[in-house]
């Protein structure tokens, strides 16, 4: 700037600089509002869940909710033992995770380390399309294909019906596999090339490099991917509603119809429960339980991820 300004005060910013600083402040303010609104929405959800849930537990004891095993909240006389939903939720989630995590990891390894460029260019868009298929389509795929042709064929331990948590679990697994693949491939791609070269330079083969260097270095990202996939599986409603039926059986037999917490909410939410009725409040009580379980699982996984971070940094 000109010498006269400098003579007045060399430490004062120029006019242009001042305007920039003002814009900077505005941007900061705007971003703060956006961030705060995220927190506000979460708080709002919790508040909306809590009030009807409290009303629910005024009429139904926590002992009955968590201590009995029959779930017929919309029948006369009603039963409010939530365990069938918990078991249903974990059955579907475990089946889905058992399919999606190894499957997604294998595809991610193949794509990032083995596939040629041309194959990768063809496969990646297919995965992205698969990730964008509406879940209701997956639901009908479960009823028409997975149920009769896959689940019914591989489940030999009991009579498997038209609706089963196995069919739902397999389909949810397929639904979340592309996400598992993409997230873990990103984690592997983030492993510095220098590390990979370091392993090859010691005479390691491709497989030894994958298992000895890339996998451990990407592990915290892969675990995070698994956690997101798991949360997604717990929350999936439509597929489960269509493929596992709407009977809350208290059973560990995945050949049977089952209800999960999400599919119960979806199912009961569709029927008209008068506002304020116990049936209406049940939806929120189950919603709160789902919230708490997801929250605990997330905390737990964060701990695991943090542990692995500590080891490697």
């Amino acid at each position: 700037m000109s010498t006269s300004i400098a003579a007045i005060n060399e430490l004062q910013p120029s006019g242009r600089k001042l305007r920039q600083q003002r814009v900077e402040k505005l941007i900061k303010f705007f971003l703060m509002i956006v961030a705060a609104s995220g927190m506000l929405i979460t708080t709002g959800v919790v508040v909306a869940l809590v009030r009807p849930s409290i009303d629910f537990f005024r009429s139904i004891s926590l002992g009955e909710f968590l201590g009995t095993t029959a779930w017929f909240p919309l029948y006369e006389p009603p039963d409010y033992g939530v365990w069938p939903l918990i078991i249903g939720t974990f059955s579907v989630m475990l089946i889905a995770v058992v399919i999606a995590v190894p499957g997604g990891l294998a595809i991610a390894f193949y794509l990032s380390q083995y596939a040629s460029d041309s194959i990768r260019r063809k496969l990646k868009p297919i995965l992205e399309i698969l990730a964008g298929v509406p879940t209701v389509v997956f639901g009908f795929f479960a009823i028409n294909f997975i149920g009769p042709n896959i689940a019914a064929k591989i489940w030999v331990f009991s009579d498997i019906g038209f609706y089963s948590s196995l069919s739902a679990g397999i389909t949810v697994g397929l639904m979340i596999m592309p996400m598992m693949t993409t997230l873990s491939e990103d984690a592997m791609a983030a492993v510095p090339r220098a590390l990979v070269e370091g392993a090859y330079a010691l005479g390691a083969t491709k497989r030894e490099t994958c298992t000895g260097v890339i996998f451990p270095a990407a592990l915290s990202g892969i675990i995070a991917a698994g956690v997101i996939a798991m949360s997604r599986a717990i929350g999936e409603t439509t597929i489960v509603l269509l493929a596992a039926g709407s009977t809350a059986n208290f059973t560990f037999d995945v050949g049977q119809p089952m209800q999960t917490m999400s599919s119960f909410i979806g199912f009961a939410g569709l029927g008209d429960q008068p506002t304020g009725s116990t049936g209406y409040q049940t939806i929120f009580a189950v919603g709160s339980l789902l919230f708490v379980i997801t929250f605990i699982l997330n905390m737990f996984s964060r701990k695991i991820v943090a542990r692995f971070r500590e080891v490697y940094e």
Partner: protein, 301 residues
């Protein structure tokens, strides 16, 4: 061919390698003999007409080098003249770059590295490499050194312990880390990390060590330690080092190869060429090529 290469002495080298041979003869005629770069040092590797394309781009061409036991060979030259590209041909690291095409030959004890008898994994085990930036694995100090032995023959726990200790001692790092082998390699300083990478490379007992600007990310004290280390281990592990630091080449190496770039007849981008390869003393005191002389005098100031 194989036998000849293994026991290469001067007359044989000059008969199979007219270009390099003539340089050597010239040296003899001048009565030059560097303290350690004497011609009794058996040749262990050589490149003949080595050239590398990246796609259609000819990055470097016509590189004829001989690498000798107990010696340090320095590759110097301006940035982009293909030093890294060439050194990566000596352990087939360029295989990992899909667009890279290697032409010509690199012989190790007379065996063509790119021929049917050579397996890339075994090549890289025999010819170790240390990179520009220290790249320890995100594992403990111990596991970093043990990684190579583990993928090359699964030694017992006791054997692995011995290899780790021996390698760390060889890399002059043992005293600093012996009480914290289980700690993460990232807890070490940059210079220590680079010595850990050297230990990691030595743990698979290579025959040659490649170093691509190993000190460029280090401070002068750490650099001096690595240079001392190189001088100490070169009798066991002949070294090829890329360096942008003239003084370093002059200090540590026995032979120096000077690379430069030139634009080919139909090319748009400059291609690297080997201008001159000789004993370090000759290159720095009395180079044959004016381009070498200009570069050296410009850079040494």
């Amino acid at each position: 061919m194989v036998d000849k290469m293994v026991n290469a002495t001067i007359p044989e080298v000059s008969s199979t390698l007219p270009k390099v041979g003539s340089v050597l003869r010239m040296n003899l005629a001048e009565g030059q003999s560097s303290s350690s770069a004497n011609f009794a040092n058996e040749m262990i590797m050589e490149s003949v007409g080595l050239q590398v394309h990246y796609g259609d781009f000819l990055a470097v061409r016509d590189v004829n080098l001989t690498i000798h036991k107990s010696e340090i060979t320095a590759l110097i030259g301006p940035s982009g003249c293909g030093k890294s590209t060439i050194i990566r041909c000596f352990n087939r690291m360029n295989d990992l770059i899909p667009s890279a095409k290697v032409g010509g030959n690199v012989f190790y004890k007379g065996i063509d590295l790119y021929g049917p008898e050579a397996n890339s994994g075994e090549v890289r085990r025999r010819i170790g490499m240390v990179f520009q930036k220290p790249n320890p694995f995100p594992k403990s100090i111990y596991e970093n050194v043990a990684f190579g032995p583990k993928v090359n023959g699964k030694p017992s726990k006791k054997e692995t312990d011995e290899i780790v200790e021996r390698s760390l001692k060889r890399a002059a790092l043992w005293e600093e880390v012996k009480d914290r082998l289980k700690q993460s390699a990232f807890s070490l300083s940059g210079g220590q990390q680079q010595r850990l990478c050297i230990a990691r490379a030595l743990a698979v007992n290579p025959d040659v060590l490649l170093m691509d600007e190993p000190c460029s990310a280090l401070d002068p004290i750490a650099t001096a330690r690595i240079e001392d280390l190189m001088a100490e281990i070169k009798t066991e592990y002949p070294i090829i080092i890329v360096t942008h630091n003239m003084q370093q080449a002059a200090r540590v190496s026995d032979r120096t190869a000077f690379f430069n770039t030139e634009i080919g007849a139909n090319a748009t981008r400059p291609t690297g060429v080997l201008v001159e390869y000789d004993t370090t003393r000759k290159i720095f005191s009395n180079p044959s090529d004016t381009r070498t002389e200009q570069y050296i005098s410009g850079r040494m100031g």
